[in-house]
Amino acid sequence: MNLDAVWCIPPRFRLQFEPAQSAWVLLYPEGMVKLSPSAAEILRRVDGTATLDALCKSIEDAFPGASVRQDVIDFLKVADEHGWIVPRS
């Protein structure tokens, strides 16, 4: 995985909050993933302009004192493998 990439969510996905699940979900053709709270915090910030550094800074600003870089890297790897995110070309 390229750690300098700018990430985006491909257009076939939709990220939304589901009150019935009390969770953010990622919707795609005929399927969905229920996101953990920390995964949702990361994925909500993947807006087509954010790099790894920008994601970490944004989260650490929102949760002062947290050190999240390794967690973000681990999640981006999983999300990349599943095709939930792609590097912007």
Binding site: R12, R14, P29, E30, M32, G83
Partner: protein, 384 residues
């Protein structure tokens, strides 16, 4: 997926995630493995637009988020754009499941504007002649044009092909066709033997060698294309030793509303005797989901018999499929005989062996059409 493996007394069931709206049983195709009921021709009443919009609102309020717009052929409903608009406004992710017949450029534009999220196009085969034979309609060239239209308008596309003895050796060509048409996902859906497919089982069951070759072909293709296209291989459960987690458990995730408003835990469940399935014309979807006898009958595990009852795997497969248990053992509460712990498991191997011993000497294939449906409704075949 958020599954439910709650025991019968473990409290309120979780909400549904999937609402399958079977808008009509009318269809220009006559596929030999159609999942509509055998007696569909005597169930021609359809809900009106207002009732469908109410069903969507009630489903969404319950918690459903994935919406399947299916049939028959849903494009035969003139109010499809209105239904899609309401679905989008409610926050559903909407999936149009179509043969492609009737999908014009004007309609696809209207669906895009209304907020449709995804289109699944079915093919019967990668070769024109077999495709047109299996659905008994000349649709192959039209389907290719429609698939290109779907991609030109920026929709994600799932290409779905039901696999069986006659086309399972074409998996390489099917995957190349899907790639050529720009599919984002391909579903290689091995036939599930209910209804029309059960009637035609002797003609449709593949051999173990065919299944293995098809799986190898799918694997090679995945390695070749990487993440460009996702290939889903729906396993043929007659060749497994453990049952599928059918519907992720009865009344756990899925709710189906049929054209006339009957509410089912899965689209095949109406075949089961002794269950009174409620209708949206006389009850709300929430009341049906949580309180009806039909939806509670096989929830949890209190209904299970041995070998399921004491089996640690029951939390994973929920005892398999109720319809398959009924069709193959005569009792829906039995273990799905796909499981090799079932005392009826030999019936699966018998069915496979019988199909191949008979070869092409079995009775003619039964196409899904109004005449065959009416004949069946008056003289139904009995389960094995």
């Amino acid at each position: 997926m958020v599954g439910s493996s709650l025991g019968a007394n473990a409290g309120r069931p979780s909400p549904p995630l999937w609402l399958l709206a079977e808008l009509t049983y009318r269809c220009p195709l006559h596929c030999v493995y159609c999942s509509n009921p055998m007696d569909y021709a005597s169930r021609s009443r359809e809900l009106d637009t207002e009732t469908w919009l109410r069903v969507l609102r009630e489903g969404r309020a319950l918690g459903a988020v994935q919406l399947g717009l299916s049939g028959g052929e849903p494009l035969l409903r003139d109010d499809l754009t209105a239904i899609i608009s309401e679905a989008r406004a409610l926050g559903f992710y909407s999936n149009l499941i179509t043969s492609g017949v009737g999908l014009t450029e004007a309609r696809i534009r209207a669906f895009k504007d209304a907020g449709l999220d995804h289109i699944q196009v079915s093919f019967q085969d990668s070769a024109r002649d077999l495709n047109d034979y299996l659905g008994r309609a000349r649709t192959f060239e039209l389907k290719k044009r429609v698939a290109r239209l779907v991609k030109d308008h920026g929709f994600p596309m799932v290409l779905n092909v039901v696999l069986h003895r006659m086309n399972i050796d074409h998996v390489d060509d099917i995957l190349d066709l899907a790639d050529d048409l720009g599919a984002d996902y391909v579903e290689l859906a091995n036939t599930q033997y209910y209804g029309w497919a059960y009637e035609n089982r002797d003609r449709l069951l593949p051999t173990q060698a065919q299944v293995t070759r098809a799986e190898d072909a799918a694997r090679r293709f995945r390695d070749k294309v990487g993440g460009r296209m996702r290939v889903l291989f729906v396993v043929p459960d007659y060749f497994e030793r453990r049952p599928k987690a059918c519907m992720n458990g009865w009344g756990s995730v899925f709710v189906t509303v049929t054209p006339d408003g009957t509410v089912l835990p899965c689209h095949a469940a109406r075949m089961l005797p002794g269950l009174a399935f409620p209708s949206v014309t006389t009850a709300g979807l929430g009341e049906i989901w949580y309180d009806s006898d039909a939806f509670n009958r096989y929830r949890g595990d209190a209904w299970m018999r041995e070998p399921c009852r004491s089996c640690p795997e029951k939390v994973r497969d929920f005892g398999g499929c109720r319809c398959q248990a009924y069709l193959l053992t005569g009792d829906a509460a039995n273990t799905d005989p796909v499981c090799d712990l079932s005392p009826h498991h030999a019936r699966i191997a018998e069915a496979v062996g019988r199909a191949h011993a008979l070869g092409s000497s079995v009775r003619p294939i039964v196409f899904r059409d109004d005449r065959n449906s009416r004949t069946w409704a008056t003289h139904p075949s009995m389960p094995a």
